[in-house]
Symmetry: C2
Subunit: 352 residues, 2 copies
């Protein structure tokens, strides 16, 4: 005598579990939730869990979110995923968030404020619980507004002027210090800086660090030897170096704002028949992948990408858990990776 069985083709719901275990849905809910499980008789709980298991019950996160107003998601706002700097950061973030029960939405803004606004709007409408933002500019009305509205966020790599937000950045001062010390140690005295965009905190702090480092080494700080790039990109790096070369001031080494800017220099060297490092030494920043296979392999300042992501994840979790905690920021120490793009300055130090 086969027992009749009604087959539901949709996913099993809480009430199915409850029915099977012979309890009320509310009880099943309590039994299933580790937080509230001790409110329920151990035997009952076991029965419910077995029932859930047996029919493959998975709670519907949408219904849960509607009720609890929590989604277990955070947004990741990245300026440009094709910049190889970010994947390891993303990885670090995920490795921290996943065990805490959060998932991350990654969005790409392509350095376009309009696109950024739309993307952030999409994230908010999907009720993310917090934001990790890598697109900060020094003046950033959108982020300022979000902050005022109480959106929880953590900045990565860059900061916003006058906004007290938790952030994780590399220690630019230390990193540029390493780069300059390395070049000075090689005998360079005329060192140029291809600065990143000065509307980003990182562009500014690296430029400032560069000036300080020159002074520390007793070198003159010639403003003509610092040129700003409009973006953190190869093409802007190339433009910057052309301006530097056309400026007529002699220099034997370049500290680039980041690796992409440094790689842009390589294009100009090719254009003008110059060779690196013989004509000009170059140092990058970030230690992006594949630098060891470049022509020449690029000397650079390495930063702990993965750890930056992991720290950002931790800060965001803290911010979500304790909204009133005073914003901490984390500074991570860089290190220098010496490769073949730097070499001792020519003896005729005034050359080039």
């Amino acid at each position: 005598m086969a027992s009749p069985k009604i087959v539901r083709m949709t996913a099993p719901r809480l009430r199915d579990v409850a029915q099977l275990a012979g309890v009320h849905p509310a009880t099943a809910s309590r039994a299933l939730n580790p937080q509230t499980r001790q409110q329920v008789n151990a035997d009952t709980a076991r029965r419910v869990l077995r029932a859930a298991e047996s029919i493959g019950y998975q709670p519907n996160p949408i219904a849960r979110s509607l009720k609890t107003a929590r989604t277990g998601t955070v947004g990741l706002v990245i300026p440009d995923l094709t910049n190889p700097l970010f994947p390891p950061i993303v990885r670090g973030i995920e490795d921290v968030l996943t065990p805490a029960g959060y998932n991350a939405w990654i969005v790409n803004t392509d350095n376009d404020p309009q696109r950024e606004e739309a993307q952030v709007e999409a994230l908010r409408s999907r009720q993310v619980e917090g934001l990790i933002v890598a697109t900060a500019r020094r003046t950033h009305p959108l982020l300022a507004r979000l902050h005022r509205q109480g959106v929880k966020m953590v900045l990565v790599n860059r900061r916003v002027d006058g906004l007290e937000l938790p952030s994780v950045t590399a220690d630019d001062d230390a990193g540029i210090g390493l780069a300059v010390a390395h070049l000075v140690g090689l005998g360079h005295t005329r060192i140029a800086h291809l600065a990143g965009p000065q509307h980003t905190s990182t562009g500014v702090s690296r430029a400032r660090a560069f000036r300080h480092a020159l002074i520390d080494h007793g070198l003159p700080d010639d403003p003509a030897l610092t040129v700003e790039c409009g973006y953190w990109s190869e093409s802007e790096g190339a433009r910057g170096l052309r301006r530097l070369l056309d400026g007529g001031r002699a220099f034997t080494a370049v500290v680039a704002g980041n690796d992409l800017i440094a790689l842009g220099c390589y294009d100009v060297f090719a254009e003008r028949g110059m060779t690196c490092p013989d004509d000009v030494s170059v140092v990058g920043f970030n230690e992006m992948p594949y630098l060891d296979k470049m022509r020449p392999p690029l000397t650079t300042v390495a930063i702990p990408h993965y750890e930056i992501g992991a720290e950002a994840g931790r800060l965001l979790l803290d911010t979500i858990d304790e909204p009133d905690r005073y914003p901490r920021s984390v500074l991570l120490a860089p290190s220098l990776v010496v490769r073949a793009s730097t070499t001792p300055a020519p003896c005729d130090a005034a050359s080039r």
Copy 2:
């Protein structure tokens, strides 16, 4: 006489809009939804829209999803975000999905089946409406199961044996054909292949295309000149080339399964004091970024990354809209980018 105003600190809801417009929430709902707007008096609709606008109403997608059982999200399953192949593909996907009202969740599996299963589970529990999968292996129980369960998906770059799923791939046959023809044109007759993993369809199809191309050019197909790499990675490329070199069979050129495998060869050249292309010419596949700055700049088969993503997005939308449509697959034409890693074969053709 200021009108009293009750201030809600939470997001405005449909009922707030309705109240402000002096209509029932149901009417407001209809007015707000373009699909049902013509059911409502044009004036009323206008009033509702203005009311919504004025208080910045955004429908709560969670409540909507609970009701409609649709989420407007799809999952993107990527083996390794640090592979620069993927960002432009992701971009293409997003550019197609966004206008259609969908957002994409990106997850990273790191080539780890366990992690993949967990990530896919997370996506499904968040009720994504479809999956774009770039991690397919030729035998892939997880994907087979998902397919049986009716999960809508599109494969990118790789396929699953015996599973009729829509897919978007580069035309491997044509691409490898270009590479081999180029090398033959340069006089190479002993050409090796560093094949990608044979558990991926791409690895197999490129290896098969390689054999066919040799035959087409009347060259002997020496099995000892094909070596399989365990992953699509630099380190496996390096291992493969070492095995090839240690095998004692002469060859003057290598067709690598992809760019990363090709770059792995560069490491071995450095190790063994060989120079590329003088000792061995190398061709890659994919045209990943920065190849032009490598030492030497890598000749490679370029594929339209962005278009691959865009096509995948379109296929998925089709699959969602017309679930019963017969699975189409799209093959995109590659092109050859000649750089400095390939050069005419040495006159002494039997050398090396």
